[in-house]
Symmetry: C2
Subunit: 263 residues, 2 copies
DNA sequence: AAGTGGTCTAGACCACGGC
DNA sequence: CCGTGGTCTAGACCACTTC
């Protein structure tokens, strides 16, 4: 097969030259691609604060020279960084570090939301156990109707005030350790991601308003009939598997969902 | 040394050939780029139903041959289509038409939402006019505190049932024609986009739950205190200008917001 | 005019997938 | 094995911005 390669399509003289050039063509056997190395180098300089938003990134030609690659390779590196929003390219002017991203529509657990506000989340577990009769939820999780589901019901606190009731469901077969996790102390998301090896990807959510029934009113310490924001989330892993189903009821006035929608 | 390299790489005879080839290098002076033509051709075949989701798209090499371009150009066309989610590329296997995209987090007006469900939207204008005392809303629209704001209050109907109350605000100075538009018959979004030459881009939204006060209860024909989903949208144009501010109150049980959030 | 990104060539070898 | 996409070369000309 090496022979086959050597039986190249060029006349002798050119072929030798071609072979020589090939020495420089892909010096990366099994290594990280050259364009990724360039990207990493730029990203490192950005993270180190050496390149700040608005600053000029080295041009394609300069990167090609610095990293000893062809223009197309340097270009590939910058094009991808631009696609990812790390840099902005302006025709005729140059490539610039993009302003820092504001994350919209980011899926965060309650613990994480509080942390992002500089607060510590507190929870009180109301009930936990295994259920087998939640056919509709089992179906949403892609499980047979009578599958064993772990179920956890927590009241979320801001200070000492109860502000939300969250009930989550998961496949007990797939995540048996979750039933015994200290979820009054740990975040469900971080347990899944760090202890169960699941990477969460996104959630499809249904949002509407309801009012508190007797039980919720008691748990949240509000009058019965008070309006609540209800969010039902079906959370998917990076492998596209429905992993957790969460229903949350949030006290009005204590919780606002912020999202961005695009035309 | 540089000279030597140049001579070595491009001896005279080759240079002339190279010049000739240049005639064919960019035969597109001022025209649409070749890679876009390839993309259009593929998109046309998809829209015509000639290529269906899952079908194999011609390979890079085949496209290069068919459109008489180099491999890199054909590749560029496919790479961009993949980035846009039109096709999926599988290393070693080929390029396939991607399954149709479900649009999440899409900004739609009420009229458009109804249309997407195959229904016709009806509205009843409750009030309309100019206000000058909505300082906070003026500020959100990036206007001076006492700017003249157009204001329109509409009840949205499903069949004969009132299901939502929507109040929108805009700069009367910028969009004076909006005040006299037949907005009981036309969609606000389509009026802005087709009559005012504004391209809408996205909306930042705040979503929570409240309950109906006396006036809302009357307008929506529901008991006072009924819980409502409240959505406040600040809608931006493609030029990044805040264009319209909308507050909507949606009857619980008659309206569910569906979104997707990412980790 | 100099420098930048955008398009493009005519190939090369490699890694992967399916028969 | 053979075809596919992924990486890469060593350049070219064009269109645009900035000076």
């Amino acid at each position: 097969m090496v022979k086959w390669v050597e039986r190249a399509t060029r006349p002798r003289g050119l072929r030798i030259r071609a072979r020589r050039e090939v020495q420089g063509v892909m010096p990366n056997r099994g290594e990280e691609p050259a364009y990724r190395k360039i990207q990493s180098a730029i990203l490192r300089r950005i993270e180190a604060g050496q390149l700040k938003p608005g600053n000029l990134v080295p041009s394609e030609r300069e990167l090609a020279r610095l990293h000893r690659v062809s223009l197309m390779t340097a270009r590939h590196a910058l094009t991808e960084l631009a696609r990812d929003g790390v840099v902005e390219r302006r025709h005729g002017a140059g490539t610039f570090v993009a302003p820092p991203k504001v994350h919209f529509n980011k899926l965060l657990g309650y613990t994480e939301q509080m942390a992002s506000l500089g607060l510590t989340a507190h929870s009180r577990i109301v009930s936990s156990g295994i259920v087998t009769r939640e056919h509709e939820i089992a179906a949403r999780l892609g499980l047979p109707p009578t599958a064993r589901l772990g179920r956890l019901e927590r009241v979320r606190l801001a200070g000492d005030d109860p502000v939300a009731l969250e009930i989550c469901y998961w496949s007990d077969e797939e995540y048996p350790t979750l039933a015994n996790a200290q979820l009054d102390k740990t975040s469900l998301f971080s347990f899944l991601e760090h202890e169960c090896g699941v990477e969460l990807a996104y959630a499809d959510e249904e949002i509407d308003a309801t009012d508190a029934d007797t039980r919720m009113a008691e748990l949240l310490n509000i009058p019965k009939g008070t309006s609540l924001l209800r969010m039902r989330q079906l959370i998917f892993s990076t492998r596209g598997r429905a992993t957790v189903y969460v229903t949350g009821f949030y006290r009005s006035g204590r919780h606002t969902l912020r999202i961005r929608r695009f035309r």
